[in-house]
Amino acid sequence: MRPPLWRPVFRPLNPSSCCSRNLLSPRIHSPRKPVVAPCTSPFSTTARLGKRSKGKANAADPRVTAIRYHLQHPLTPRPLHFSRTRYLRHWTIHRAWMLFLRKRRRAEELELERQYESMRAACEHLRLMDDNGMTVPPAEAGGQGADPGTLGPRGKEVGRLYRGAMRKVGIWGSVPVEYARAQVDFPSREGWNHGWTR
């Protein structure tokens, strides 16, 4: 079956291996005269399929064979097969890479958690601090979380810095407020987690 015309065909212009011998073989200076490629079909860039001749002239250089082997391929390339040890090496590297990624991800998560916790501890410290810099018991401090503006029994004296820090005015001054949370296609199923407690 002849290949379709639109497919590139890598075939030596001459059925005999003369052109490859000319290009690639180091034996240019061999006493045998290299066969000159007669242009058999002047109107085509591809070679015609001549009859295969069994002879010494057709015995190709192994390097040429290798190059032709890699240039001439069917539409689907042959499947990539690893040898046994090669596959095992590949597997080892893959497992190690997966392990590495997992460890890195875990370290990142832990770092983020540490940062969050230390920030939270600082805010809690500010909330429980009165104007003299002394720590008061939690019962005397004001509200936290969703209502940081609520004052405690000792009034404005406790947690002044905390209330200031919790003010969100002007934060979104230069950035659209939509960026306050990650944009998703749909709202979450239960809009607000009412049962959340620390």
Partner: protein, 457 residues
């Protein structure tokens, strides 16, 4: 010889045909049996079993030696051909033709092996192969393994401390037990994780050289079993209604392979009556540590009762007190039978009800014969003399399990129906009077208005 050579060559070619991972089993339950399937299945068996039984030897040494008489002179001149090293086409062809052995691997690989052998370079062990990325990867994996080993040590220490702790401190007896259980589970997980990334372990397991006494190989074998064989078995058990008909529920945890002689029966296969006349051979692979005592029961669930227009059960076989463990997988009933015949007292016997060949009436629907492996409670021995009195007809597996306090570990099944050899089998088994009984469909007279009349013609 001229006629012999192409034949052998053909068989060699057959052996190289790639089999699907299943062995010889198509998805729709039909078997495709080639000459080549049997060794393939046996290899798979080996991989799972992990025992040290040698693989079926390639026909190289023995058969080549045996046939060396009729090898012609010109073939002897070819000299020794190593399937690992033949490089050119002619040598390959000669190897196939003379020795009936296919060359191993790619030509490129063989050439590389041959060249390195010619240069006398010594082989580098797999772990020391000089590939930078590979060595870096190994370093990471080894480091992780060391970490895991340390975690195992601490976990063991913690477990020991918890065991020694007063239950009042750890919040009651039940809380303590729950904690011990979860800690043990975590410990087992760590033990698996310490070895799971080792390429040598993977290689050994794939080669079937894994030691089933080690948890990692048991884990790998279990995983492999659960990937294909167990779903297939589950499908057969549910499609053929083993689960509601014989037992209310079943969670299979052991891999059972049923074979008659050398013929392995896939779950649900029809078995010729002449084949199933002899006792089967079971291979029971358990994936849990330790030895267990099991009972094996074979029940026929489709014994027709024409009077009631229904079916009943019949027990074909009961054997008890059979030890199995991850390394002790084979249950050869024939050998057990020989041992039983030498036993002095009936209590020493293991086979309580001897094998009754499965039989079916002519014209009756096929019989499902289910093989159950039942674990005996706490490894206690059952009283075989008591089980010997079990009646075969109308045997109820549920009551038997309740009475003997058994726990079903797994099941498999095969089917039987009337075939050419059935009459002889029945005569030999002492059911000669049943041979001539034939079941036929009852003719249903069409109702008068459904009759074909002149008008309809």
């Amino acid at each position: 010889m001229a006629s012999m050579a192409p034949l052998r060559q053909f068989s060699a070619c057959l052996r190289c045909v790639r089999q699907p991972a299943t062995g010889a089993f198509a998805a729709n339950g039909t078997t495709i049996r080639l000459l080549s399937t049997t060794p393939a299945v046996r290899e798979e068996l080996q991989t799972e079993k992990g025992t040290s039984t040698p693989p079926p030897p390639p026909p190289t040494p023995a058969s080549a030696q045996g046939e060396s008489r009729d090898i012609p002179e010109y073939m002897k001149k070819w000299g020794r051909l190593d399937p690992n090293r033949v490089e050119d086409k002619r040598a390959e062809r000669r190897l196939i033709r003379r020795d009936g052995v296919l060359p191993i691997g790619s030509r490129r690989r063989r050439a590389a092996i041959r060249r390195s052998a010619m240069r006398k370079t010594d082989e580098i062990p797999f772990e020391q192969l000089p590939y930078q990325c590979f060595q870096e990867a190994r370093k990471i994996l080894l480091e992780d393994r060391q970490e895991k080993l340390k975690q195992i040590e601490t976990q063991k220490l913690r477990l020991k401390n918890l065991m020694a702790q007063d239950p009042a401190v750890s919040g009651g007896e039940r809380a303590k037990e729950a904690r011990i259980k979860s800690m043990k589970e975590h410990l087992n997980e760590l033990i698996i994780l310490a070895d799971i990334n080792d390429p040598i372990v993977k290689k050994k397991f794939e080669d079937g050289q894994g030691d089933m006494n080690k948890p990692i190989y048991r884990y790998l074998a279990d995983r492999k079993w659960r990937q294909y064989k167990r779903p297939l078995l589950e499908q057969r058990l549910t499609q053929m209604n083993i689960v509601p008909d014989f037992l209310p529920a079943l969670d299979t945890v052991v891999d059972i392979e049923l074979a008659f002689g050398r013929k392995v029966i896939q779950p649900g296969d029809f078995v010729d009556s002449s084949v199933s006349e002899k006792m089967p051979r079971l291979r029971v692979q358990s994936f849990e540590q330790g030895e267990k005592l099991v009972s094996v029961v074979v029940v026929d669930g489709d014994v027709p009762v024409p009077e009631k227009d229904g079916f009943t059960y019949r027990c074909h076989f009961i054997a008890s007190n059979i030890p199995i463990s991850p390394t002790q997988t084979s249950i050869p009933f024939t050998m057990i039978g020989h041992r039983d015949s030498k036993a002095t007292t009936p209590a020493e016997k293991q086979i309580a009800l001897p094998w009754l060949p499965p039989w079916a009436h002519k014209g009756a629907p096929y019989h499902r014969l289910a093989v159950f492996v039942l674990e005996q409670k706490d490894g206690h021995k059952l009283d075989v003399t008591e089980i010997m009195n079990t009646k075969r007809d109308g045997f109820r597996l549920r009551s038997f399990i309740d009475k003997q306090q058994l726990k079903p570990l797994g099941a498999t099944l095969f089917r039987t129906q009337w075939d050419d050899s059935m009459a002889e089998v029945m005569r030999r088994a002492g059911f000669g009077d049943q041979v001539d009984v034939e079941f036929k469909h009852k003719r249903v007279e069409p109702l008068p208005y459904k009759r074909r009349t002149e008008r309809m013609r």
